[in-house]
């Protein structure tokens, strides 16, 4: 199979509605790429958490700042980038939500969920000076069952940049 990359990106406002918009867009791409229902749920949740992180922690809910979402569909995986306009952070500084003293914390589980639900996860310094979350999920094997009733790696995203 020839290698290929499909790229899609969008600029989101720093508002709650952007979280749903980003989730819905990535779910469409994931379904078109052949991911099953469980993986779509994990991808959608991870995108939600990435944008919530950018909205709340990165951009501090300041409406003049933007959130940049990009999706790359390569021959073997779906890669998602979420970039904010904050000051950035280090993964090592994020408290462990499973630690006894943090179990009853009312926040701080987003990074944990993204790490749990995606195959690869990292946070790097972004071009804006903010944090860029980069996470990926391997595409389902060709011919594997697709509860969505759609194709596997040959499926084409419904939206492309």
């Amino acid at each position: 199979m020839a290698s290929y990359t499909k790229h899609l990106e969008m600029t989101l406002e720093t508002q709650v509605e952007s979280v749903n918009l980003a989730e819905e867009m990535c779910l469409r791409v994931a379904e078109a790429a052949g991911f099953g229902e469980d993986d779509c749920y994990r991808i959608g949740m991870s995108v939600r958490e990435g944008v919530i992180n950018a909205f709340h922690y990165g951009n501090q809910e300041r409406p003049e700042k933007k959130i940049y979402l990009a999706v790359d569909l390569t021959a073997d995986k779906m890669i998602i980038h979420v970039l904010d306009e904050g000051v950035g952070f280090k993964l090592a500084d994020v408290p462990d939500p499973l630690a006894e003293e943090n179990l009853l914390s009312t926040s701080g589980r987003g990074i944990f969920l993204m790490r749990a639900f995606m195959d690869e996860f990292d946070v790097v310094p972004g071009r804006t000076g903010g944090a860029e979350i980069v996470m990926s999920k391997k595409l389902p094997a060709p011919g594997s069952a697709s509860p969505n009733g759609r194709g596997g790696q040959n499926a084409t995203p419904q939206q492309e940049a």
Partner: protein, 114 residues
């Protein structure tokens, strides 16, 4: 799908029937308002029926924890009923399944408050 909440009394326990998604924004806000409203009415024994809640994000989890803590701080109790698979899995991986009392039978849940 937005969150809907109704509540009914069962003895000294208030059962809150929730349906929809508990997520950042209106869903989490409604859960907060519902629990805080019950506490203001001195209804401190609360059973959240999550049978029709199929999606919770980190904001929703935070609101569940916040409600749990608020109720406990007023010497009350907040328990969970009828978790869907996704919600149960989420509470398990976040280790919150061991924090909340979780039930699959409403009668047993109501009796546990006594």
């Amino acid at each position: 799908m937005s969150l809907h909440a109704t509540h009914r009394d069962a003895g000294n326990v208030t059962v809150v029937d929730l349906s929809g998604r508990i997520t950042l924004g209106d869903g989490s806000a409604l859960l907060r308002k519902t629990i805080r409203g019950l506490l203001a009415d001195q209804r401190k024994m609360i059973l959240l029926n999550l049978a029709d809640v199929d999606y919770i994000d980190s904001s929703g989890i935070g609101e569940l924890v916040s409600g749990f803590t608020a109720v406990k701080n007023q010497s009350g109790d907040l328990k969970l009923l009828h978790l869907t698979k996704k919600v149960k899995d989420l509470l398990q991986i976040t280790k919150l399944y061991t924090v909340f009392d979780v039930f699959t039978d409403e009668g047993a849940a109501l009796r546990s408050f006594n």
